[in-house]
Symmetry: C2
Subunit: 241 residues, 2 copies
DNA sequence: CGTTAACTTGATTTGAATCAAGAGCAGTGG
DNA sequence: CCACTGCTCTTGATTCAAATCAAGTTAACG
């Protein structure tokens, strides 16, 4: 295995370290641990002591929370350049969810103590972390409102649009979500069942709005999906011909 | 109106300023603005530029998010010693919800610029803020999972238990939630309707679990509420006799 | 090529929303 | 002081979206 050289250029891309000078970045790089993470690896588990702050250089990680009786919620997907597990380190010290590598990944991490020192020395890092965590709080609050007040179809539309924004890849006939995403995953993001998601996607597929396959979704008409998400009046679809 | 003297002792109680030395606290106090806030006042509105970091010395503030078509979500209730509106200042700069004084309050605030400087000078404040925001993120994620996977009755039980924890006041026959709380409010916390909340509370009242009146709820048997929230097997209630 | 996981689709049930009507209290103003 | 007005809350009847129950079908993988 290649001894992955931590590259300052990559770390500079992380929002967590934006606005720092070269000296600070050099120190951050020195104290980082980089490693490959195989698809399927559990990076940390719900309930573990939060001893490491993570960030993703490449790949895709799923954060999943499990309830007392096994019900699961997909909290978010992490992409390249995003940190994860860091909020837990500085609030409570216990990871509140599992982190799962959905594909082969490259990750970096710092120990809690190291990151704490870095933040004390470079308050900018703490401010950046506050920024990121604050945005996630807002996003989760918005999902909470959607879940409280919207029908399943709209919630699924919102979820797909969110995924397109953070993991969309242009392909010939639309935008594809660039990691394996099952019906079950979508259900766990939107608080419904895989059956309902399957029916909804089938319906949309019939209207040419999306294309989908095994663990794979392509959005062909993003505007139509936006119309559903925003509950705009949409053109009628004649039943026949 | 009394020119409320900002009291360092009070500010020391805020988690946001824990672990700071006397000099730092003195500076924080010097830069704070204290004021009375009348019941019913809108402290800030969703969509406003987030220009102030707030904290509550006394009273109760409701944070409410409104969706495009007027659906509302009660994001949280703020009590004495808690900060609010601060995450918005450092992530995006727009308040994502309204803040409403539920009773007469005493509040403190700092301008965004002042708080930014304080955090740069005393990284500890930024770390504390990260701690608080991280905890709220966890709490909201937990609510999201509950909303996705639990029935209304359990969600209402969880919501009441949360309120008891943060705003419970021992009274003769149980624990009372110490601010005006309508059925509508509970509905907006749990993603249901006031009708359903009313039916549930009526049911519990019949079993002696809670007592309730106009904008007022008292928990008489917290253990029974926990049993409902955790979905534990509960003693049967014979229909007759 | 068989086994397993992901997905589809139909039938039935059900929890909670919606529709609908009225009762109880609190503050207002005559 | 009391009628009026407007919330807040209760309760019943009905409807409906989505869960659950129940078989399959399809596609990947060893």
């Amino acid at each position: 295995m290649t001894p992955l050289a931590p590259d300052p250029a990559v770390l500079r891309g992380l929002r967590l370290f934006s606005g720092l000078d070269a000296a600070a970045l050099a120190e951050i790089v020195r104290s980082a641990h980089t490693r490959r993470i195989e698809k399927g690896t559990t990076i940390f588990s719900q309930g573990d002591r939060a001893a490491l702050c993570h960030a993703l250089i490449d790949g895709r990680v799923k954060i999943v929370q499990t309830g007392a009786d096994g019900q699961q919620l997909v909290v978010r997907y992490i992409g390249a350049g995003e940190m994860f597990g860091t909020a837990a380190v500085f609030s409570g010290g216990i990871y509140p969810a599992d982190a799962l590598a959905m594909v082969d990944c490259v990750g970096v991490h710092w120990t809690a103590a190291t990151m704490g020192e870095l933040m004390e020395r470079y308050p900018r890092i703490a401010l950046n972390a506050l920024d990121v965590v604050g945005r996630r709080l807002q996003e989760v609050q918005t999902r909470l409102r959607e879940l409280s007040t919207e029908r399943v179809e709209r919630r699924v539309a919102h979820a797909l649009l969110r995924l397109v924004r953070q993991a969309g890849r242009r392909v010939g006939n639309g935008v594809e979500i660039d990691f394996p995403l099952s019906r079950q995953d979508i259900a766990e993001m939107t608080g419904t069942t895989l059956h309902t998601v399957s029916r909804i996607l089938s319906g949309w597929e019939g209207q040419g709005i999306v294309g989908s396959g095994r663990q794979q979704v392509t959005i062909r008409q993003p505007h139509a999906l936006v119309a559903i998400a925003e509950d705009l009046p949409r053109p009628e679809r004649p039943e026949e011909k």
